[in-house]
């Protein structure tokens, strides 16, 4: 083995890498929030929407779940270019992740809603609750408990998937790393440090999610 590891240039760029890590986190959280909103809509449409809308929702979910995330990113990056629509790298990643998150979360939400027996709605209504009260106090808390864990997983996936941004020119953690690595040719060292940063980010998310779960589901 005649290879000398050079960690110093990497450590010098550590502040930049950590800042890029924040950008990774930002785009992941945003795509997650949008994904939850759209996913909820897709799940409800699939369960009780009018037929054309239901078919659109089903198509969305099946494409999101049956094609690679990178393909979806390329689609928003190059595919839309065919219609003269050129998104910035940030928007490409955000749109791609949101599309993917919404598809996966829709299936989780649907499973959650189906797991709550329909008789509970009728029971709540006959006790004098309004439809909104029924949803807010009876259905949503139970569904949330079921989908909480899958949602945490999806959040971790969103962080990991955002690394694909480097292939569409987005300078988040991976893109920034590749930028520096190609400048110094210390590819292994740079990506090793980046791997550690990703690991820490994922662990922090899981820890936060566990703490939040303990607070939310105390009963």
């Amino acid at each position: 083995m005649d290879y000398n590891f050079h960690w110093r240039p990497v450590l010098r760029k550590l502040p930049e890498l950590l800042e890029a890590g924040l950008l990774t986190l930002e785009v992941a959280v945003l795509s997650m929030l949008l994904g939850i909103a759209i996913g909820l809509g897709l799940a409800l449409l699939r369960m009780q929407g009018p037929t054309p809308l239901r078919q659109i929702a089903t198509t969305w979910v099946e494409i999101a779940r049956n094609t690679p995330a990178l393909f979806q990113l390329f689609f928003f990056g190059f595919g839309l270019g065919a219609f003269g629509l050129h998104l910035s790298p940030y928007l490409i990643v955000l749109a791609g992740l949101t599309f993917n998150n919404a598809g996966y979360l829709a299936e989780n939400f649907r499973g959650g809603f189906l797991a709550v027996p329909e008789t509970q709605v009728r029971a709540a209504r006959s006790l004098g609750m309004t439809a909104i009260q029924t949803y807010v106090r009876i259905i949503i808390p139970q569904v949330l408990k079921i989908v909480y864990h899958p949602m945490t997983n999806q959040m971790v996936w969103a962080v990991l998937m955002s690394s694909l941004g480097m292939l569409v020119g987005f300078r988040e953690l991976s893109g920034e790393t590749q930028f520096f690595a190609s400048k110094t040719y210390r590819i292994f060292e740079y990506f090793a440090v980046t791997a550690v940063i990703y690991y820490v980010i994922v662990k922090i998310i899981l820890l936060a999610s566990n703490l939040l779960a303990r607070r939310l589901f105390r009963y």
């Binding site: 099946e62 049956n66 094609t67 690679p68 393909f71 219609f83 990991l160 998937m161 590819i187």
Partner: protein
């Protein structure tokens, strides 16, 4: 446009063949990785379930790292690490290596869940009927556990097929890279991406439908 004709040409039927070939390579590298990864994952999952702290501290930690770092980073890392230790590995070998370990990390969790699903009382009952440890594993844990976790295993296999798209980063000519090459030549990103998407869909959708059917058969 006459002066650009030598650089760009339209999408042709033979390009579909090119994409089909690349789809075959996607299927190939996925099959290799899923096979090796599942075999490794079964052993790891069993070790994690049976020996409490030692396997957890060694295998458990390593597999956890593979699950928490983006696959694309793992691929680049290993592809650049092999030459350092003097191994000559092409894109296929390096890609299959990383994908296999990645699969094993996912499958180990699934297998552990499967052994858990069988439950201690059932296994004690098997042992008190005079079965040896391996008989218990083969005739009790395997059939019951397999049915419990088969859907999750199919989920892992499907995600590996999709994640194999990332091997394109190492220069391996699989489906997504082939479509990129075609896009560069024809300048028709929408049609070509739609074709590539259709190929991915054709690879993964039947598998998920088939597993659903198999599950229903087992349930009845």
């Amino acid at each position: 446009m006459s002066n650009s004709a030598s650089f760009f040409s339209d999408f042709q039927i033979s390009d579909l063949l090119f994409l089909g070939e690349a789809a075959g390579r996607t299927l190939g590298i996925s099959t290799v990785s899923i096979t090796i990864g599942t075999a490794l994952g079964c052993v790891f999952g069993w070790a994690l379930q049976e020996s409490k702290w030692f396997a957890q501290a060694t295998i458990g930690t390593i597999l956890d790292i593979f699950r928490s770092v983006p696959l694309i980073i793992q691929l680049i890392l290993f592809y650049n690490f092999f030459p350092i230790i003097g191994w000559k590995m092409g894109p296929f070998a390096a890609g299959a290596f990383v994908l296999s370990i990645y699969t094993a990390a996912l499958v180990a969790n699934v297998v552990r869940g499967g052994i858990d699903a069988v439950g201690t009382p059932m296994r004690r009952a098997a042992r008190s009927l005079g079965m040896s440890y391996w008989q218990d594993l083969r005739y009790v844990v395997w059939p019951i556990g397999l049915r419990a976790v088969f859907p999750s295993w199919v989920g892992v296999a499907l995600s590996v097929i999709k994640d194999s798209a990332l091997v394109s980063v190492l220069g391996y000519l699989e489906l997504l890279r082939a479509s990129q090459i075609l896009i560069t030549r024809t300048q028709e990103p929408f049609i070509i991406l739609a074709c590539a998407g259709a190929f991915y869909f054709a690879l993964s959708y039947p598998l998920s439908k088939y597993s659903k059917k198999l599950e229903e058969g087992w349930a009845s």
